[in-house]
Amino acid sequence: MRIDRRTFVAAAGALGASVLVRPQPAAAQPAGTPIRIGSTLALTGPLSATGLVHKLTGEIYVDSLNKRGGLLGRPVEWVLKDDQSKPDLARTLYEQLVTADKVDLLIGPYATGAILSAMGVAQRYNKTLVHHTFGIPKLAKYSQQFPAWSLGPEPEKTTPAMVLDALAASGKPPRTIAVVTSKFPSVHFVALGAREVARQRGLKEVLFLEWDFGNRDFGPIAGRLKEANPDFIWNGALGLEGSQLLDAMKKIDYAPLHHFYHFPSPAPMLKAPEANGALATTIFEGHPPFTDNPVAAEFVKTYRERATQANMPDTAVETQAAASFSAWQIIEAAVVATKGLDDKAMADWLRANRVDTIQGKLRFDGPNNYGDDLSKIKQVQDGKWLTVWPKEWAAPGARLRTRGVTS
């Protein structure tokens, strides 16, 4: 089931009115022993660029939560440790959080490997774990884990289907496809799914390539793409790999017709003129209709201010920050609804109810507690990421552009 824009805006507006935007009576100051919520994040190491997004988001949320009276009338304290982008260290630190720090609640790290580690610890101690951006839903077997990233249970089917739906409605639907992908697990299985979905839809695959994560030289891959000259490139790119491939294609004077990047680093891609027209998935962008939700609008504004203060080059809210914010919203909703900190009760409540978040209403009653795939498609247009699909979620005036095709 997909949530349409009208339902989302109505629900979000109701939520927003109740928390951030409506002039509120002065919230009672939280008092008593703080509720301690423990987590790790990749504050250093290769994943730290995104880890800082989650750190800033968490700080913004906890500040806001305490200004609104905390949880159960008590202040909230976030106990945050640096897992150094190492899943094995994340496991150790979550053990510490439960056994030594004796935190009341857990919230997940970001990135699939670290979340898997945290999930194992949470399962050992029967703790509920709400996590941010877990990329492989079929691996999330623990019954008290809850994903804040609305990927749906089978992104290897739903994501390619959505992308090809969008392209089918474009000015020049593709007839040939090249699938090139990093072997990083979170993107690799979806790229393999894209091959299958493309085959079912009758697209001719003209090239399939895989590279190891950390590849530095994208020149030969760009050369092979230029020779294959597909109508559409599915790029299972993670982080900088998308920008690196774009750069390599530019250097040999090749501009693809349609090109999709799975999890690109959004800011570097925006700075490259050759990225114009690049597609990617998103659950949230800092423009209407997402920001018709007053909570979201306030978050986007605050995030931009605080990211600027923190000297972060990318100050835009997109998937990572939105998933992180949603994770905190899920925990708050569960604590408020169950009027306590009982992990089992919170888990039972979450499986039976929907939670309003800035990415939409989330449900957790599907396979491995995954609900609907609420992903959308965004495109780089004139130096901005704009949502273009589904149409009801498109930024005002934006529509899918195809190079060389007048819309």
Partner: protein, 286 residues
């Protein structure tokens, strides 16, 4: 399976040559440090990235031409390198312990980079980035050409200096037998300081090239260590021409592997070559 065209193969060779030139430039200072000073200086990679970030800061934020940043970076890094050697010499750090100490320095530099510039990606928008030359159907990007030119020029200059000048000969003599060299009046301590300064300056130059070609993030320091070590070992320790030749061989072989087979096989190339050389010429590391 369709065969790759001659254009694709030639462009892949160029791509590998450019990547290999950077391997060689990074490996040059490391090889001299390891072979002639008996210091396995892992902080060489950290210095290179410090140079890259300084280039980003000076060129990207203050409008200095990226190549002009060398006027600042080379002397500063020379001083840093000499200072680092003085520290290691003062405490008589053994070759193996130098590996540990310089790894610690690398971690500290990485943390400093993250503190100043955050862990987020930084990309230098240089005046050279948009320029490329055309050779028939082939494209030659200017930043990569600059890297190749600097790598070849500096490698030849260091090779000539070590082979033909009195200072170079004295450095080689001191590295081979310090007591005997001292008996002939060679000031081993001063030459070691100068060589260490030179190695750090070479890391700074490599940093400028990294900033011209790549997007920066502090943790990228570690991404280069494996393949550059392979270049240094293949090229022979303390041999100035070795890392560049080995780097180009590895770069081109990797690129051709990506052009004709699976790109995921490319990383196997450098280490397969290393193992092969160690099997065929086990004395190569001496």
């Amino acid at each position: 399976m369709t065969l790759p065209s001659a254009t694709l193969l030639a462009q892949a060779v160029l791509s590998g040559l450019f990547t290999g030139a950077l391997y060689g430039l990074l490996g040059l200072g490391l090889s001299l440090s390891w072979g002639m000073l008996r210091q396995i200086n892992l902080s060489h990679f950290a210095l290179a990235f410090l140079g890259a970030y300084l280039t980003y800061e000076l060129a990207g934020r203050h409008g200095v031409d990226p190549l002009l940043t060398l006027v600042f970076i080379v002397p500063v890094f020379f001083a840093i390198g000499a200072g680092l050697h003085a520290l290691l010499a003062r405490f008589q750090v053994s070759p193996f312990n130098s590996l540990l100490v310089t790894f610690g320095i690398t971690v500290i530099v990485e943390a400093a980079l993250q503190w100043f510039w955050t862990a987020d990606y930084r990309r230098l928008e240089s005046v050279y980035a948009e320029h490329r030359l055309r050779l028939g159907p082939l494209f030659l990007p200017v930043p990569e050409l600059i890297t190749l030119g600097l790598a070849v020029g500096l490698t030849l200059a260091v090779w000539l200096a070590l082979a033909r000048t009195d200072v170079g000969k004295a450095m080689r003599a001191a590295s081979q037998d310090a007591p005997v060299a001292a008996a002939f009046g060679v000031n081993q301590g001063a030459l070691a300081l100068a060589l260490s300064g030179l190695n750090a300056a070479l890391a700074g130059v490599a940093g400028v090239c990294i900033a011209l070609v790549y997007t920066l993030t502090p943790s990228q320091i570690y991404a280069w260590i494996g393949v550059v070590f392979a270049c240094v070992m293949l090229g022979g320790l303390g041999r100035p021409l070795g890392p560049l030749v080995a780097g180009c061989i590895i770069g081109i072989t990797e690129a051709l592997t990506m052009a004709v087979a699976a790109p995921s096989w490319a990383p196997l190339v450098s280490f397969s070559l290393l193992i092969l050389v160690l099997l065929v010429r086990p004395g190569r590391l001496a």
